[in-house]
Symmetry: C2
Subunit: 188 residues, 2 copies
DNA sequence: TTCATTATTTGCCAAATGACAAATTAATCG
DNA sequence: CGATTAATTTGTCATTTGGCAAATAATGAA
């Protein structure tokens, strides 16, 4: 819970009273490895802060391949923003890669916090923009890299993730096949 | 100018008076093909709405290759968000791919509009989030696609751009070499 | 532990892409 | 128009990656 508060405070100021409000609203939940936080076809109605564990956002392309869009690990928010913001059915899944502990906020929670805490929207907007910007900046360079470079850069940027994410999922994130990744990994 | 107002109105309501304020602040500028709107090493201090033309965001990787991160065409905002928001020197360029007509806002303009128009921040936040989300959703699937598919999807999504963007830049956006793209293009 | 299941590695070959240089075509400017 | 420069195409070959199937290793449940 403290991790959440610290995270929020990085983006704006909150009084102790406001902090207590946030704590009151955050619901602790767990997800077992493989379970879904949010599913294609449904409208996302929750936002999660990850206290522990790794989630991934994934979808199926028109050939039926399962593709990992990205991983999200502890001390980050996870939400299907497209679906949550526009209240439209999602086309992707958010799935637990490992067992997870989450702090979950419903739409009502968010509306209430927004109405009560003057800076809440500004803080959330900053977090949203930073989160999206990070994703763009992370994915964008990969297009120009070959498979080996992608893997090595992934290791550099997310050393904590490498050993917690099965190779098949990592391969689908890096945009290469499982066997290629296996060979690349052997070489280093 | 009307295009800008229409664009803004898609994200929130503005009174006629507020619209006039926006018009008052927007400065018309032009950029010749090849000129920069924003440069690596500098702190971005402007936001542009593109009335006409195409810009691209690009940078140099550690091998010295010039890489196009993405294109932005008319009826969209362009800004180096990383640099503008955090007031840190940028690592990328925003360059005119064609001659452009822009409506430019300075930091002062934005601060003033933010102070005067009650919903301004909310509108801009929505635009920012949508812009970033679009980028993620556009780039992300490309990782899992081969070069031919990337090119064809680009044509589908941006038919207006294909004939205005030189092949070399398009190749650097798609993450393939110029000669490969030339061959792919011939086949179709 | 042992079996069953899942994850990873490996072999083999085909296909896609890159690298580099030369040739061709298009664009620009006097 | 002609000359110069820039943009694109093409040829050749090396390298990377994919596809598929089989082998091996790791994991989890009984």
């Amino acid at each position: 819970m403290d991790a959440l508060i610290n995270y929020l405070l990085r983006f704006g100021y909150l009084t102790q009273q406001q902090i207590d409000l946030v704590k009151l609203r955050a619901k602790e939940t767990t997800l077992k490895k493989g379970e879904y936080f949010s599913e294609a076809g449904h409208i996302a109605r929750q936002i999660a802060f990850i206290s522990e564990g790794v989630l991934r956002v994934c979808y199926y392309n028109n050939k039926g391949d399962e593709i990992t869009r990205y991983f999200i690990d502890e001390d980050n928010f996870a939400v299907d923003l497209n679906s949550y913001n526009n209240k439209i059915p999602s086309s992707e899944y958010i799935q637990a890669v490992t067992d997870c502990r989450l702090l979950v906020f419903s739409r009502d929670d968010m509306a209430d916090l927004s109405a009560t805490i003057i800076d809440w929207d500004a803080i959330l907007n900053k977090i949203t923009a930073k989160g999206l910007l990070d994703k763009v900046n992370r994915i964008s360079p990969m297009l120009a890299e070959d498979a080996t470079t992608r893997y090595h850069h992934f290791l550099e940027k997310f050393p904590r993730l490498a050993n917690r994410v099965p190779l098949s999922l990592l391969a689908s994130y890096l945009g290469i096949t499982q066997s290629s990744l296996s060979r690349i990994r052997k070489k280093s």
